[in-house]
Symmetry: C2
Subunit: 418 residues, 2 copies
């Protein structure tokens, strides 16, 4: 069967399954997730064996260590997959919740009810745990899901997927509700992106080129999980001690993630007091600093930041630093170079804090806290499928609620319009 | 200046303006809308003069009477534009509302705040009142708006737009927050759809070909306001008197709108009792009936419905009728041929009503009421910019809330992540 037909068949089956899944009880969905967690446990050695094959091939292709790290599974990471499934199972079911209800003067009861989106396509790179995380969240929110992972993780993904699918087969939920694209052909993604008759939402998770390809070619609505060029702005009225702790945390606590700080903005009135100490501590933590002209006057011997640096998500121990002459300049910089992800101001000044909150156009805007908190668990949502950098439907961490839409349910007793 | 540059310049200006508009006070936005309504009143004769030009050109081009009717303005329709603006002004401002807030164990206060989407592009056909309706709603929700109306209404749109823009010029809100594309070149829409760096949302309102062109070519997220192939299903347990009234209302009260019924589904056990009376009343109301084989056994001499009829939005005094043998068949028919807009069941049976509500995949699902209620005013939202037939972000009538997104505002006192 050619790719086009294969993908079409998958999408049709996923759509059909989504109708039964949509009316599955919470109990049945939870039972499926429990069985999935058990099957991952039972299948651990098979999954690790498949993962070894992927790793060998990646090493042969001379992939970077960071890539191989993301690809690698071990007992601890498999336990992580299992506990993620169990955590998702424990969350309240959001499907069928009434968000809002109004009794109209004519007696009509109009209620807004949370319902699944339908069929979700997720396109991701070579992190095999994404396979089970996404299936758990989509199943709990009663969405069919079609997964297309990076071909470098294909053996791992197939092994994980088989565990999950065989668990689902023991329930009344149709197994077609979860689908894995196993074709290595590049055209598979393009074919997927055309099927707006069957797929309701596409979520690309990965690097710039993947996101770009998906956005430019999709006829299906897309919610992007794009890069995090996050900023911490140290205001002239900052508690500099607090600013120091927040900036260090935002940069070095886990530099390879999207909510880590990439650019530090410092008001010129405090730059001479603030930069030397943080410069020293960052260097001691192994951070390479790239500064603007004014930063370089204070921190001697550092690299110059170029225009490109301001746009860059390093995901690494590198930091761009810019001294700004006003709050306005800081906000303008963030709105121009940032990625609308997470940005923080450190300030004791009420007006500046309020102005920053209102005018920075990002999903998550912080006063006096580290950008590292942008995360479904930290936000109290229980789990997340990613962090949306888009503005429509869902912004910031996406949990179960964000994986649903709503329908209006209208109850009457014979009302007609006059 | 060529079209490409012109559109780009507009979009850049609209984006810039959106930042000031986003922090404009409710008072200032309301003052702008009041001035707009006054200017429309003052400019009425100029608007009607411009509209005459459009009508003449349309008549010369031998456009259909329904088209010319939609294009035509008169004193009553201008009053309608004015009162729409005034109604929107009176609505509560939704920008800045806190939708949800949580205090986390570490002391962080995480609040979800309603904020404008940014820049909205609206592509519509030849109904000039849409110009002022959309500008009122976008201004109230603090979104910049770029309008591209049908070229057949260009003189009317320019005249209306000039009234609104000169009103805005008297306020502190930048006039660039509202933009009208006046180019008649077909490439203007294509250029608009590329500018995802400046425009956050595209809303096409119009016929199938317009929606298709926009969906297939947009790099910007789209919310479609597509056709309404609405159904009324008369269950075997229906109160047939009620069903008669609802079906008549849904079909004939205003057949040219998207929430009118296009297909009537009748359970076979009640078809012989239900169809003769409604068939007679529909015929008396001038409705042409196209029936399935079983319908034609009961209603002699009517036309046959073809496969195409089930997909068709007539917007006219034509009705497709199908006799079904079960609730399941009715639901399957609606999910296959419908447009996910508005569908109703008439039934006194609890289980059937619940099943219909749960399984019909439409924005608005009714029990025992006419589909004609799908409307922002009728739903108690005050006003609407259209009715979304999509699943993401907004579904069904879109009012002010649906014209916003949210941001997370996080207030800390030095929290860092462990």
């Amino acid at each position: 069967m050619n790719v086009k037909k294969e993908i079409l068949k998958m999408a049709e089956a996923a759509k059909r399954a989504s109708f039964s899944l949509g009316s599955a009880s919470s109990l049945e969905k939870d039972r499926a997730i429990t069985l999935m967690a058990k099957n991952i446990k039972k299948g651990a050695s098979r999954i690790l064996g498949a993962n070894k094959k992927d790793i060998k091939a990646a090493e042969k292709k001379k992939m970077k260590p960071a890539f191989i790290d993301r690809l690698t599974l071990n007992a601890r990471r498999i336990d992580g997959m299992i506990s993620s499934l169990e955590e998702v199972r424990k969350l309240d079911d959001v499907v069928g919740q009434i968000i809002q209800a109004r009794r109209r003067p004519n007696g009509l009861l109009i209620a807004k009810m949370r319902v699944p989106i339908g069929v979700i396509g997720i396109i991701y790179e070579a992190r095999p745990n994404v396979t089970s995380d996404c299936i758990g969240l989509c199943l709990k929110s009663a969405n069919s899901v079609i997964l297309k992972g990076g071909s470098e993780a294909l053996y791992s993904n197939i092994a994980i997927f088989e565990c999950l699918r065989s668990a689902l087969a023991k329930t009344s939920i149709p197994v077609d509700a979860i689908q894995l694209v196993t074709s290595k052909e590049r055209s598979a993604v393009r074919e997927l992106l055309k099927l707006n008759a069957y797929i309701d939402l596409i979520m690309p998770r990965g690097g710039e080129s993947l996101i770009k390809e998906v956005t430019e070619n999709s006829r299906i609505p897309v919610i992007k999980h794009y890069k995090g060029v996050c900023h911490v702005y140290v205001d002239e009225y900052a508690d500099l001690n607090m600013a120091h702790k927040i900036a260090m945390n935002a940069k070095v606590q886990r530099p390879a993630v999207c909510n880590a700080m990439e650019t530090l903005l410092v008001h010129e009135d405090v730059a001479a007091r603030f930069l030397p100490a943080i410069g020293r501590d960052l260097s001691n933590a192994g951070v390479e600093i790239r500064g603007c002209r004014k930063t370089k006057v204070i921190l001697k011997g550092i690299k110059s930041a170029t225009e490109d640096d301001w746009y860059t998500e390093y995901l690494d121990l590198i930091l761009a630093v810019k001294v700004v002459s006003s709050l306005d300049e800081a906000i303008a910089h963030i709105n121009k170079y940032g990625s609308n992800h997470s940005d923080a101001i450190v300030s004791e000044n009420y007006a500046n804090a309020v102005s920053f909150l209102g005018r920075v156009d990002s999903a998550c805007v912080y006063v006096n806290a580290s950008t590292r908190f942008t995360d479904g668990y930290e936000f109290g949502m229980g789990a997340e499928i990613g962090i949306s950098t888009d503005k429509l439907h869902a912004r910031g961490p996406m949990g179960l609620e964000e994986l649903t839409t709503y329908k209006y349910v209208i109850l009457g007793n014979g009302q007609v319009r006059a």
